[in-house]
């Protein structure tokens, strides 16, 4: 008799486990970002009117995007987005330490984060404090004097392959 009860117990336990795992998967999926959130992920920026050493902050996927036209005396970098003869820093404006927005100080030509004192240069490289990596570059595609964020163009893919951003 007990073997029959054991069998029933194991069968019930097995079905319960399958149901439990399925329920966990459903719960995980319910916490995923919604398709509408994911779809609203493209922003086009026109760079033709940008002034050198003046930071513009755009919004992409709810995150601030730093757009900075470099002056001639700023160091050139492989992370620069080149449009015609102009070089731009285009980066996600969140400190790579814990996600605060660094402020741009035009006189020092530096980004300074108020939260934990991190600093970045005009190419987005970390130069002081706790940030472990450079400001991230969002997926971008150059279209004339415009840049589409959210779409990975050849220039972006090159940077990604070279490990210049994540």
């Amino acid at each position: 008799m007990s073997s029959r009860r054991d069998f029933m117990g194991k069968a019930l336990g097995g079905f319960t486990a399958v149901g439990g795992i399925a329920a966990l998967y459903a719960m995980k999926r319910s916490w995923d970002p919604l398709p509408s959130v994911k779809a609203a992920g493209f922003t086009t920026i026109d760079l033709s009117a940008a002034q050198p050493n003046v930071l513009n902050v755009e919004k992409w996927r709810g995150k601030p995007i730093f757009v900075l036209k470099k002056t001639a005396d700023m160091k050139k970098d492989d992370r620069d987005v080149i449009i015609g003869s102009d070089r731009f820093l285009i980066a996600i404006g969140l400190c790579t330490h814990l996600g605060c927005i660094p402020a741009y100080v035009p006189d020092d030509k530096k980004f300074k984060c108020a939260c934990h004192g991190g600093e970045f240069d005009t190419s987005g490289h970390e130069i002081f404090g706790p940030p472990p990596s450079p400001l991230e570059i969002p997926p971008f595609k150059v279209e004339g004097t415009k840049v589409v964020l959210g779409e990975a163009g050849p220039e972006y893919k090159k940077m990604l392959d070279a490990g210049l951003t994540v």
Partner: protein
């Protein structure tokens, strides 16, 4: 069916069906508490009462609060604060209680540490209590999101970013927790759910467990004396109330608790009516703005000590230090190798350890509030953070060499 006699009173009727007299004995009149205790032993009931206040004020706030990024800020700062009759009262009770409850939790914890109330059968009391501390921390954090002000948003941003695990760069996990690339509507509504349902359920369950774990080892006393509770109870029941070392939980012990609670509530409501600003960060009266970080982001005072442990190190090391600091107190009963259950004052080196730990956490708290720019304070913070870990490493060594009292 069981056989029932005709009942002669409501009490008898209830007793036949629900054994209420037995229940009353087990939970109150024959649940024995040592006499040799002081007002610090009342903190448990003070916490229970404060939780009750949070629950009641929360119920009223819930009636007008709107968990929507476009409506949340005004539903709190306009509707509840200026339209709802006495809405300000519920908000100020809720905010002040959320802050004060942590002060009492810390007093309750350090009382337990001082008197060794986590050893020799009382380990589960400590562990379930630490579970409550974690649950209250999660409850406080999720509640802090709800007014959707600048500090709500940026605290949400910073704390959820911790889950990227530093160099692991697990941004997928962060986005999964938020349900968005940044804290947004999905984030607010799920933290609302956590704050008003799931975490309170966990807290209530843990409170029941915490009380349950007390039952067999009993409450500790000022000398860590091992009391024969059965013998002492017989003495008390036989009428030798003076000779007995124990009193029943209710009504005798509870009447003392109620006195302490009375004093506590006078202070508490003074804060609610006249000094509530300390629990209301002015930065959070600006609506959330994802494109503007406040000049200085800091958590509420009760998280400052662990925040300061995160801050002085590099990102990965800081995260590891922070993670260890969050859970290290769970290990206290197992790292204290001393056989003595006694107040710290009689335990030699442990006495120094206790006060160093307490002062170190206070120093960490003060340093955590300061902006990160001042080098002197940053260095004090670093030393205090290192001392915190040095103390935990030293604990098993100094307690192992402790002489048996």
């Amino acid at each position: 069916m069981a056989h029932f006699e005709k009942a002669n009173s409501i009490n008898e009727w209830m007793d036949q069906r629900l054994a209420v007299n037995t229940l009353k004995k087990v939970m109150q009149t024959e649940y024995w508490i040592p006499k040799n205790i002081n007002f610090l032993w009342a903190m448990g009931m003070v916490l229970a009462a404060t939780f009750g206040l949070l629950l009641v004020s929360g119920i009223f706030l819930l009636m007008y609060y709107k968990p929507d990024v476009n409506l949340a800020f005004d539903s709190v700062n306009y509707t509840i604060m200026s339209e709802v009759g006495y809405g300000w009262l519920w908000r100020h009770i809720h905010g002040v209680a959320a802050s004060v409850v942590f002060l009492v939790i810390y007093i309750h914890m350090f009382t337990g540490i001082y008197y060794g109330s986590y050893k020799k059968g009382r380990e589960l009391i400590w562990l379930s209590g630490m579970g409550l501390f974690v649950a209250f921390s999660a409850e406080a954090f999720s509640g802090y999101m709800l007014p959707w002000g600048q500090m709500s948003y940026w605290a949400g941003m910073v704390i959820t970013n911790l889950f990227s695990g530093g160099s692991l760069e697990a941004y997928g996990l962060v986005e999964w927790i938020r349900g968005d690339y940044v804290p947004g509507d999905a984030f607010l509504t799920r933290f609302f759910m956590l704050h008003v349902l799931l975490i309170p359920l966990a807290i209530i369950g843990l409170i029941v467990l915490h009380f349950g774990t007390l039952r067999i080892p009993h409450v500790n006393n000022q000398d860590g004396e091992e009391i024969d509770f059965e013998e002492a109870a017989e003495l008390y029941k036989a009428g030798n109330v003076k000779e007995s070392k124990v009193i029943p939980f209710s009504p005798v012990f509870l009447s003392k608790d109620v006195f302490v609670m009375g004093v506590y509530f006078i202070i508490f409501f003074y804060l609610v009516f006249y000094k509530f600003e300390f629990a209301m960060d002015p930065v959070n009266f600006d609506p959330a703005n994802g494109l503007k970080t406040p000049a200085h982001i800091y958590p509420e005072w009760y998280f400052l000590w662990s925040y300061e442990i995160l801050r002085p190190f590099s990102k990965d090391l800081g995260l590891i230090a922070f993670a260890i600091a969050q859970v290290i107190f769970f290990a206290l009963p197992f790292l204290d190798k001393s056989p003595n259950v006694a107040p710290a004052s009689r335990r030699g080196k442990f006495h120094i350890w206790f006060w160093l730990m307490l002062v170190d956490m206070i120093v960490l708290t003060f340093m955590g509030k300061l902006p990160p720019t001042d080098a002197l304070f940053a260095n004090i913070g670093l030393v205090a953070a290192l001392l915190f870990f040095a103390l935990w490493i030293a604990l098993p060594i100094i307690t192992k060499s402790e002489k048996k009292l």
